[in-house]
């Protein structure tokens, strides 16, 4: 098998791509997609350590299942907020949402 550092490297790259997306996307849905990428990177890390860890265990995989659950809940609520934002503001551009900004 590959050394674990390969998986960690892929996971780090994926995380940083997601980070970049969160910082640069204007569309709120795009930001949520980037967050999903970051969660996937975290999951990849957990599963890699679950497979390669010093002793066999499935803790990493169990964690990943719960992370996926949270990610789905987060996507549902986050996109509900986006939809509500659209109904109120008629756009989903996060840099124009300044109603609560002084």
């Amino acid at each position: 098998m590959q050394p674990i550092n390969c998986y960690l490297g892929v996971s780090a790259i994926l995380f940083c791509i997601g980070l970049f997306g969160v910082m640069t996307r204007r569309n709120a849905v795009g930001i949520l997609m980037s967050i999903e990428l970051m969660l996937n990177a975290a999951n990849l890390n957990l599963v890699a350590f679950s497979a390669y860890g010093p002793k066999h265990g499935l803790t990493g995989q169990v964690f990943a299942v719960f992370v996926i659950t949270i990610a789905a809940a987060e996507a549902a609520v986050g996109l509900a907020i986006v939809v509500n934002l659209y109904m109120n503001a008629k756009h989903v551009n996060v840099d124009q949402v300044n109603l609560m900004k002084w």
């Binding site: 590959q2 849905v29 795009g30 996937n40 169990v62 949270i70 840099d95």
Partner: protein, 171 residues
Amino acid sequence: MTGQGVAFAVLAAITIISALLVVTIKNIVRSALFLALSFVGVAGLYILLNAEFLAAVQVLIYVGAITVLMLFAIMLTQQIMSAKISQTTEWFWLALPMALAMLATLIFFFAMRTYPVNPAPDALAVGTTMPLAEALLKPYLLPFELASFILLAALVGAIVIAREEKPGATD
């Protein structure tokens, strides 16, 4: 290079290239479709890591449900094919060095440390679904039940937030 090495390289390339397209492409619908491809790549990596249940869950939840939900949200909120407006904020040139710095830091620490790696990671290769199920339902019972509370809260929250208020509704 072994077959496994080739598989790893191909899957990692699919994952990373489509993730890059997700954050850079102008048309948000295509971006969502590349997101699905990236998730498929991660599912393949899970299989390489002997986590076949997680790979199935990844395809079922991320590819099958979350991406579709994203597409629904895009269709709800956009004139979808109008890629005329810029999709990126003016922070592009600040965000790029920051993300690269983060990447360099992570890679540096991953490369510097040697991890206490299990010498024979294939010992679990008989299939991890059964032990995973045992773990989920015995030692992780409480988080398992709490997960259903999280789903309940998300359900109620999303309904309350996203429902169109009817003018004559009583509640």
